[in-house]
Symmetry: D2
Subunit: 148 residues, 4 copies
């Protein structure tokens, strides 16, 4: 499920740690999400807009958009952590820019400020329909390292 062909700049142990954590999140499976790309301080996660992930008008539910953007942010942060650490989201703000209409969502997260006590992250989420992609959300949040 998590092929991650582009994780060449990450050590294998970091990539393994991120993939194990991702695969252990049952919510990611429920939403059909895949970890597509990892590099130091960045992460891309995608998911189809499944029949069970919709709001009342048939678009992707904001909870799906949030789930992907928040997870891409968290795993971007986790690539920068030592082996014995996890991260948890302490706060996350999402601005929804357009209806999340299409076939799938793509979320890219990156660390904009690393830190020993907090990492500040940003993520962008696009909806893809046909060959087109449209930005549907931006997220700005904080990740806190915690011992594994």
């Amino acid at each position: 499920m998590s092929s991650m062909p582009d994780s060449t700049h990450l050590s294998d142990s970091v990539a393994d740690r991120v993939r194990r954590s991702f695969d252990a999140q049952s919510m990611m499976k429920t939403l059909g999400a895949s970890l597509e790309h990892l590099a130091p301080g960045t992460c891309r996660i995608t998911a189809p807009i499944l029949p069970g992930s919709r709001q009342q008008q048939g678009f992707a539910h904001a909870a799906l958009t949030f789930a992907l953007g928040d997870s891409a942010s968290g795993y971007a942060a986790l690539t920068l952590m030592p082996d014995d650490s996890e991260v948890v989201t302490t706060e996350m703000k999402i601005n929804l820019l357009a209806p999340a209409q299409g076939d799938r969502l793509v979320a890219e997260g990156r660390v904009i400020k690393p830190g020993r006590r907090l990492l500040v992250t940003q993520a962008t989420v696009w909806a893809e329909a046909g060959g087109e992609r449209r930005q549907v959300a931006v997220l700005l949040g904080s990740m806190m390292p915690v011992p594994l």
Copy 2:
């Protein structure tokens, strides 16, 4: 699914409109969520922490916490809208206060500032374990009315 025994202060047409919208969100079904209470400007939504709604440590995923808090906020706003309106979330911030550990989550949303162009909402989310409840998140966001 949405029994809403306490919606006595809402007109039937408003309660029906909210319930129809809620029932049309496939994501709410995927998460097992129920609309438990509606009153003018407030809404309570609950969900069990299903096996498929978890993060890597087995607690409720932040996306579940967000989904319930955001939806409780939005439906609280919808109770104040005229019949020909929907609302959409334009932005939502969540502060996560504690691991969402337990059997189910309870989210209560309320409108703290109604308005013709934007409604500002706040929500609290608790995790229940045994008979105990613990606050796990607070959300502050904005809802925009849109024509149905």
Copy 3:
């Protein structure tokens, strides 16, 4: 300037520490702000809407509203800290609810979740005109303890 007649439930050393920190903020003097009330986990700060604190329509500038709400949040957190600690704001969101029109602003901050690594705070800001007060903003943020 900081009379604080209601700080009866705080130890003198905590009240002194907060007052010293407040008095050392030249920005608070520039804005004419006063520390009006302190109790464990809460703080009230007020300021007149000075001629030099206005936006283009003559109302209080959002930076004044933010300054008071953020400071009331921070000092609410500081009342819960040990003697050798300060706090710094790591993030703060403000929702502006109405034009800040009137004679003065009143900001009340409180800690909604204490913690060793982060404290989550909420603040409300009102504008007073004549004898009336109107809520103009709500803030939700995070404070991080730092060694003094």
Copy 4:
């Protein structure tokens, strides 16, 4: 005070409107702020860290950082508005990344999503000390057009 040498891509009437609004904000004068650059959808505002703009450790007060970031966001939005419109901030989140230590602050705001009912903006704030600049904050917020 607002020389704006780089506003070549803006019509004179838009540049004039922004400058008039900026000059009418007494808070900007109190903080010593200057409108340095305007282009469609972007704005740069700077201010010295005046003796009266400091927090208890002598760094720039978060209210100064917020004031510049929020104003740069708002004026970035105003460049995209028709002549008979103003904008007001409806919500703004700031993440503070580092102590704002130095001689002056530089804030750059830009519109990341224009819209008829809301514009979503982002701003970055740097502190300059000697010839060095360090990012001290990022802001993500919403602006609402209002009739002049």
